[in-house]
């Protein structure tokens, strides 16, 4: 079968009625997550994993995995659409990836052009989504074929690259990010060792035998941590919303934003593929690029439409681009994709080069559903933007307790253990403190998800080479990955020493 056949099969499974509903619910919740400041795509996806797991419980395993990932991915890219809404209307970005949109978006809204800013943001996101999907389809086969040639040594080095890249860009301090990565990897060693069957750090407590559940940690650190922050740091906010009038952009505005959308999509896509660099960086860089090549840079910051079109396309393209290393190599390049990967592994679906061979239904079903999801988002966002903007007025007094209740319900439904709930609560408190003191959480989750694979590949490689570490440095591909890892970690530090501002990738 060629790619087109696979894609058609993918549409076959994406168009099953319940998968359409899953995609719709996913993008709907995603948009809401994007609009609400405080809940980012990471906590949104983490919070929904247990809920989807219980809903899909009745389906056969492969179909359950397809439906679940369709919904969860929908939340991820849906959030990219939603983030722009509040940036433009309220000057409060709903996501870190929409921070730059406030610069020109809010100015446009002030001048009474909120409608066109919103619609250009939605159109840009849509175009970017489709561009990256096509690139994903084209690149999926060759990349996974290439990855199939990797041995355990190459895989180990590639995973180190993924971990290193995320740590290098994750926070203000590389040391702190690395500490979090190592903590994640250490947490992953708890439980029965897969290779030898020996229990490690279990202290003969049966609850620890199966290891620390990634879901509990992720929901606790992200969702509950964020909730506790909102409770402790209560802010009085005034919600002065700009009026939306005339949603249809003029021909001139469309013409003006066509080129920025195209540039933003391509730039965002490539930044998205890079491990560690995500939607936030993509939107930031594309804004800088537009400002540099503009004929009149002074217009930026006063309501230039290119300043909305480019970053909004870029962040969406980056979220699509980030799916490529996840699906083809099995290496998540960001916190959110790490959580998606954890979700797939809960269904016993291992992302990576074999995904397209072993579970074509999951892989192509997801890709096809992203087409459908993007169309749904465009339709949803244009006429319903006023409704979504209302979500931000949801009183926190109801939202916060409900998030706690959903976290507890979700973790209990999957784990059926009070110990996990206690761990969840503990992680919430720890997550609040870590976040407050600039310890990035994404590397920890990435380490926790990748830990077993890093270790298994290391041990497999060392067994093949009879305990010799040399081949890691003599095999060219492996050496290349290792050099890139070192560069990724060292360059930001060097740049900081020279007093340059390093853009970091914050994910919420």
């Amino acid at each position: 079968m060629n790619t087109l056949d696979y894609l058609l099969h993918g549409f076959g499974s994406a168009l099953i009625w319940y998968n359409l509903i899953f995609a719709f619910v996913g993008v709907l919740i995603g948009t809401a997550v994007g609009v609400l400041p405080g809940i980012g795509p990471m906590s949104g996806v983490a919070l929904l994993i247990p809920v989807t797991a219980s809903i899909t419980g009745g389906l056969p395993p492969e179909q359950a995995a397809t439906s679940a990932i369709i919904l969860l991915a929908g939340v991820y890219y849906g959030a990219m659409y939603g983030g722009s809404t509040t940036s433009i209307l309220l000057n409060t970005p709903g996501e870190s990836s929409s921070v730059v949109t406030t610069l020109d978006g809010y100015q446009m809204a002030k001048k009474g052009r909120a409608g066109s800013a919103l619609s250009i943001a939605a159109i840009g996101s849509f175009v970017a989504g489709i561009v990256t999907l096509i690139a994903l389809i084209v690149l999926a086969k060759p990349l996974s074929n290439l990855a199939l040639k990797f041995g355990p040594a190459e895989y180990f080095s590639l995973m180190l690259l993924g971990l290193g890249a995320v740590s290098g860009l994750a926070g203000k301090s590389v040391t702190k990010a690395l500490i979090m990565t190592v903590c994640g990897l250490l947490l992953a060693t708890i439980g029965i060792d897969n290779v030898s069957g020996i229990g490690r750090f279990t202290f003969n407590i049966p609850w620890l035998y199966q290891g620390i559940e990634f879901l509990t940690i992720a929901v606790g650190l992200f969702a509950l941590g964020e909730v506790f922050k909102t409770i402790l740091e209560k802010e009085e906010e005034d919600t002065q919303m700009a009026k939306i009038n005339n949603l249809i952009p003029s021909k001139e505005e469309l013409k003006e934003s066509a080129a920025p959308i195209a540039r933003g999509s391509i730039l965002g896509f490539f930044i998205g593929i890079l491990p560690g660099a995500g939607a936030t960086l993509a939107s930031f860089f594309s804004y800088i690029l537009e400002k540099k090549i503009a004929k009149d840079p002074s217009k930026f910051g006063t309501g230039a439409i290119a300043g909305v079109a480019a970053p909004e396309s870029a962040n969406n393209a980056a979220s699509g681009g980030a799916m490529i290393p996840l699906l083809t190599l099995g290496i998540p390049g960001s916190g959110t994709t790490a959580i998606l990967m954890g979700a797939l592994m809960m269904y016993n679906v291992q992302p990576g080069p074999l995904l397209f061979e072993d579970h074509p239904q999951v892989a192509w079903g997801l890709i096809a559903s992203m087409f459908i999801g993007n169309i749904m988002l465009l339709i949803l966002n244009l006429p319903l933007v006023k409704v979504f903007a209302k979500i931000i007025q949801t009183p926190k007094r109801y939202l916060i307790p409900l998030i706690i209740a959903i976290s507890i319900f979700g973790v209990y439904a999957v784990q059926v253990s009070v110990y996990d709930l206690l761990l969840l609560l503990g992680c919430g408190v720890i997550g609040y403190f870590l976040n407050k003191h600039d310890y990035p959480i994404a590397p920890l989750v990435l380490g926790l998800v990748l830990g077993p694979m890093v270790e298994n590949n290391l041990r497999r490689a060392l067994t093949i080479f009879n305990g010799d570490f040399g081949p890691f440095f003599t095999r060219p591909i492996s050496l290349g990955f290792l050099i890139m890892t070192v560069l990724w970690l060292v360059i930001p530090v060097l740049m900081k020493m020279r007093g340059k501002n390093v853009v970091i990738n914050e994910e919420g």
């Binding site: 040391t175 190592v182 307790p401 319900f409």
Partner: protein, 151 residues
């Protein structure tokens, strides 16, 4: 950067790293048919964590002292909600989902903001009943429904 927090954290991470090193020394060092045993990876990571935490501790000395902004933290609601969550978790299995969730939500709603008793009652009742109905009746999941002494 809060230097005090970072120093305490560095010491904590140092302890964790050391404990992992000690812990992995107690794991059998070799497994049958493999050169590398299950102890190597955690041993190495523990060592790495120790080095990194020493580095973090060292960094706290060179870090610039920042003006401390006194933020007003809302301790009272946080403590109430934290305790409510703890009680909720611990009583979930014996008292059952519906009652505990209802009480938990109601307490939290009122802690966040006083007043509007009826709305609070309605939302907390509606949520707990709806989740229980959908999950247990429709999806056939497992949740402790009602107090154990009922059955």
């Amino acid at each position: 950067m809060d230097i005090k927090f970072d120093r305490i954290a560095a010491i904590l991470f140092l302890t964790v790293g050391t404990l992992f090193i000690i812990g992995s020394r107690n794991i059998a060092s070799s497994s049958y048919g493999s050169v590398v045993g299950p102890d190597i990876f955690p041993l190495f990571l523990g060592g790495l964590l120790v080095i990194l935490s020493i580095r973090l501790f060292y960094e706290t000395f060179s870090g610039k002292k920042q003006e401390k902004e006194k933020e007003k933290l809302q301790y009272m609601p946080f403590i109430i909600i934290f305790i409510a969550t703890l009680v909720y978790i611990l009583t979930l299995e014996s008292v059952g989902y519906v009652i505990t969730t209802f009480l938990f939500l109601f307490v939290c709603f009122q802690t966040m903001e006083r007043g509007k008793w009826l709305t609070s009652l309605f939302i907390s009742g509606g949520f707990s009943a709806l989740v229980y109905f959908i999950f247990v009746e429709v999806l056939k999941g497992t949740l402790p429904g009602w107090p154990i002494w009922f059955n």
